[in-house]
Symmetry: C2
Subunit: 231 residues, 2 copies
Amino acid sequence: MSLKLYDLAGAESERRFSPYCWRAKLALAHKGLATETIPWRFTDKDVIAFSEQGRVPVLVDGDRVVSDSWAIAIYLEETYSDRPSLFGGPAVKTVTRFVNSWADSIVAPEISRLVLIDIYAHLHEKDRAYFRETREKRFGMKLEAASADRDTRVLAFRQSLEPMRITLGAQPFLGGDAPTYADYSVFGCFQWSRCISDFRLLAPDDPIAAWRDRLLGAFSGLARNAPGYPP
Amino acid sequence: MSLKLYDLAGAESERRFSPYCWRAKLALAHKGLATETIPWRFTDKDVIAFSEQGRVPVLVDGDRVVSDSWAIAIYLEETYSDRPSLFGGPAVKTVTRFVNSWADSIVAPEISRLVLIDIYAHLHEKDRAYFRETREKRFGMKLEAASADRDTRVLAFRQSLEPMRITLGAQPFLGGDAPTYADYSVFGCFQWSRCISDFRLLAPDDPIAAWRDRLLGAFSGLARNAPGYPP
């Protein structure tokens, strides 16, 4: 097996919670590429110094090194073009970038805030000071304060997902009849939360919850079988 | 010319401001289909009774009648498949539906609120009571109150456009190198505002303003030449 992915882990090395690493793992599964995942913590900057940056996912494919989840998706699509298309075809990539950007700028920041204290609780001890310092700077408040009003904040979060709800009223996946990278880019954010928190992001009767369930079962339950909480 | 489009008009019959009609007009232009547009007002329900619903756009193509902007786009793509693809290819339609849903549920409702009082000011006299009643019911307040705090509300609106801003940092159009229906679905909302309001939705240095300008110039300035205000 020549493919290796550096994958964010918590205190337990099998708790892999990064939304961006989940995107990469689902993209690799979509391409049918067996990959060795290597547990990595926020403060292991030296371990991935070869990638010339400090964050995961980092994919190593023989002598190629690719970091950033979007760049990894593009790399896999181009390099393994004989395998099932991640985007559903060459022309779909550009519009998928919008969905990915929506997940990055709307979905991920809000989920981050809602479950911040739960992420902290699952970190390896060596990562805790780093995480507290960087996230408290980002949010301008204590971790505990950022998640304190989550029972009310989650209502606005659910409202912000309306574009997905409308889309899923007409088709089972954002990509259409089958999941594509558009789905993985958003699902990674939900899986992130599920791996470290029992906080309920979605009402049980939300059509987005049914979509999430379909993706939890994809690739023989790759996401469902990962250590985490019931969604 | 066999194509006809019923198109929402203001007091002046040449002021055509509906975001959904703009989507249809740009889709028709993309397909290179000359179309007669027929000015229509909110209260002209009888005039489009043949479409078995009460809203525009309504496209009449020979003996075919299609209402709803998304249905019109799908109809044009399928019927005029030998002309330039509206979506950029068959597989792109499903992901474009997400962009269209985002425009419908996030962009349009907020622009509606920001310029509500300006829409009212440009309506035909016969539409004013209908518009005031339906919109005051929708927003739960007087038209004047809904737009009163727009100088502060617009800041949150601009923030909500971040997914577009990220996408346009990597490519000139949501559709990629050239505009597609993904662009028209969002641009229709901006053109709506421009036709009836001088309220500044975007900061001049916003990359989304440059994108809007490119679309104002598309199809020999179809949108730019329409009666309205400087964007």
